[in-house]
Amino acid sequence: MSDEMMDEGGKVKKFLYLNRKAPYGTIYALESLEVVLIAAAFDQDVSLAFVDDGVYQLCKGQDTAGVDMKNFSPTYNALGDYDITKLYVEKESLEERGLSVDDLMDIVYEDEDDDWAEKPSIRLVSRTEMAEVMEQQDVILSF
């Protein structure tokens, strides 16, 4: 646990939002994103992880007209504005679904420590590395 102190008398913890489900079909992905957007206001160290069918959430070119649901995928592009800049995507989950990082949206953030240079938010990690990412967290919310 980080012992860094925050203004509100609270502590900074490492929160990981683990996304395991496809974006439509169930409401998990949408409601997970709603938690993430609220979490951004709490000045915690937030990361997102995408494994299993969760990798579909980041696919580009989503068209939901046929299922009469709101396409919420543009929201992922706004995460950088909320200082959420770490989106870990599991390589094996992509490969098992015939996907590669080229099928995913180009999600970027502006790095304030590097003259606001645009940098990619998506970090491709192996299954082993994903386990290490999880190991480093204080709180994991699995959706």
Binding site: G10, K11, K13, F15, I27, Y28, E31, E34, V35, I38, A39, A41, F42, Q44, D138, V139, I140, L141, S142, F143
Partner: protein
Amino acid sequence: MKFGILVNEGPYQHQASDSAYLFTKAALEKGHEIFRVFFYHDGVNNASRLAVPPQDDRNVTQRWSELAKEHNLDLVVCVAAALRRGLLDENEAKRNGKNADNIAEGFRISGLGQLIEAGIQSDRLMVFGD
């Protein structure tokens, strides 16, 4: 230890709520503290006092209400998840022009910030879901 509990599935359909209840009860019996139980996704349906399960079955909602009363538990239902699923307290019913409310005793409706706070303040946040 101080636990936060997140319940992401509805009653009867899924075991998550039963497991969360049994865990919470066992933790309290062992002298641990429960900072908050937060109900999200279909988990908000655990708070409906209009559910009428068969008499020879457990009553999931009533069980939570009784545990809350006994241990002064904070049972929080996410407002956004509750409203879209038809779970309303008196305030929300009035605000949204509905003629009924259905939140059981011991539960309260509040925002997602309460979940994040539970994550920050608890030693462990336990997620019960699918």
